[in-house]
Symmetry: C2
């Protein structure tokens, strides 16, 4: 049997651990330091072996998936990188990639590190919210290094596939961070910004699907998202500034007397959304029922 | 038998017409001018009587529900108000209320007009997207006039209940428009503003649930939303400006070197969202399965 270790059994680590049971000829080791988490993992059979020892988990491991918060991932590289055996595939699940690829430079040269970001989440973290279905239909983004071995890239793709992901998307750390600032991070910034509005607690009875959908993600974990935002500050602040300008131009069009100006703007933007829907439709249809 | 007329069989009118079949001892008249819509309504038995004649629909009607776009509602008041018989309950479904309550002043004094706004919708309009389930679990907001008859308010509540609404919320037009700018309109402004970003068509493969949820409503009907935004410009532009300021303060916190500042902001906003979730939980649980 080969050995695959999950470091950190929170929402993502727990979901990946449970989801990887039975993967090829791997024994799944789940590692965490928190005693309640360990008890939950054992009770729910979320890994073949559950341990509180990093050393036990990574010793002779063929694959190590580091499922900590971004700062924890960087710390893991420094503190435990030397303990990995030659040829080990090391990957992570962090939502920022430039800072992590940069941090991975401290790893010994016998470790094959490939960045990873499965695009799935829930408002509530922790192992008790994890589910082997969490990644079903999600994009699994990977950021290989120039010297990453093809067999390890292929192995990571099989892992993503076994977890039920829609596809594996290979990209650079820079492009990942630019795009993720737009597709994910700013959605979270908007959601929390909306929740600062003084009307927030007056609006019971006036809420429809759009408000629920937009603000759902505002109940985020502040420590995790402080790291994610701070580690991608340049791309994210540029994206926020573009949104502020776009909102301002809508505000001016709405305040203006000429309804045609507003109508043309709305036509333009909604056409873009409909065009995007068409382009994404094939993939979305397949997963419509499970997402 | 009593008579209830639906004027306009689009997404909302079609859904209400189909949903009201069998309501108490009322015969449901569905009226539209478009021949395809009429054919669809007849084929799908969406009303007891389907007609292209306003006169036929409103003659001796006990209840008239005007399901046109806001400008169409105002035009209906002027062009057809005189045709309603004394004591008729007239209501509408427009998403702005001050402009419509103002417009209703042209109605003859024998018409009992009560404003209405069922908080439900879909990205795609038209009768072919209507469904008798559209209003299930939705808030039905009503804005009675000072002289509205209690028996008609009660009748409108029974209508909302029969349509499967969660509740009927009675409020003033001013409060409705202020709150709706926040809970609904600005969600749509954000969604279209996001779709103007140059990254829009680069992000296939990088999209998760948050992006899909936030931008879903961007595929809106430009003519309808031009009216809704323009007729509520004062509240909406003030709300947009507050959001711009909130985004700016997040941008500055993210750009700043002190992560504690950002952490505290995120803690504050996410706590507000969690508190709101708790307050709304009872109602939301009941409808979790159908929304």
């Amino acid at each position: 049997m080969k050995k695959l270790a999950i470091i950190g059994l929170g929402l993502i680590g727990g979901s990946i651990s449970a989801g990887l049971k039975g993967f090829e000829d791997y024994t799944i080791y789940g590692m965490d330091l928190d005693s309640d988490t360990l008890e939950y993992a054992r009770e729910h059979h979320m890994a073949d072996v559950v341990t509180d020892s990093v050393e036990e988990a990574v010793a002779d491991a063929d694959v190590v998936i580091c499922c900590l918060h971004p700062q924890g991932i960087l710390d893991f590289f420094r503190q435990h990188g030397e303990k990995l055996r030659p040829g080990t595939l090391l990957t992570d699940v962090g939502g920022v990639k430039s800072a992590i690829m940069e941090g991975a430079k401290c790893l010994p040269d016998w470790v094959d590190f490939i960045g990873g970001h499965p695009m799935a989440g829930r408002e509530r973290g922790g192992i008790q919210n994890s589910t082997r279905r969490l990644l079903w239909g999600a994009h699994y983004i990977i950021t290989p290094r120039p010297d990453s071995r093809q067999e390890n890239i292929d192995l990571l793709k099989r892992i993503a596939d076994y977890l039920g992901c829609r596809d594996t998307v290979s990209t650079s750390a820079k492009k990942h961070d630019d795009i993720i600032a737009y597709t994910s991070q700013i959605m979270h910034v908007m959601a929390v910004a909306i929740c600062d509005d003084p009307h927030m607690f007056d609006c019971s009875g006036f809420v429809g699907g759009s408000f629920r959908d937009v603000t759902r993600i505002a109940a985020l974990e502040p420590d995790l998202w402080t790291e994610l935002f701070s580690m991608n500050a340049e791309s994210l602040t540029a994206t926020i500034q573009r949104l502020e300008e776009s909102l301002k131009s809508y505000r001016e069009a709405i305040a203006g007397a000429d309804r045609d100006v507003l109508m043309k703007k709305l036509q333009h933007s909604s056409d873009r959304k409909r065009r995007m829907n068409l382009e994404h439709q094939r993939g979305d249809d397949i997963y419509a029922l499970i997402n």
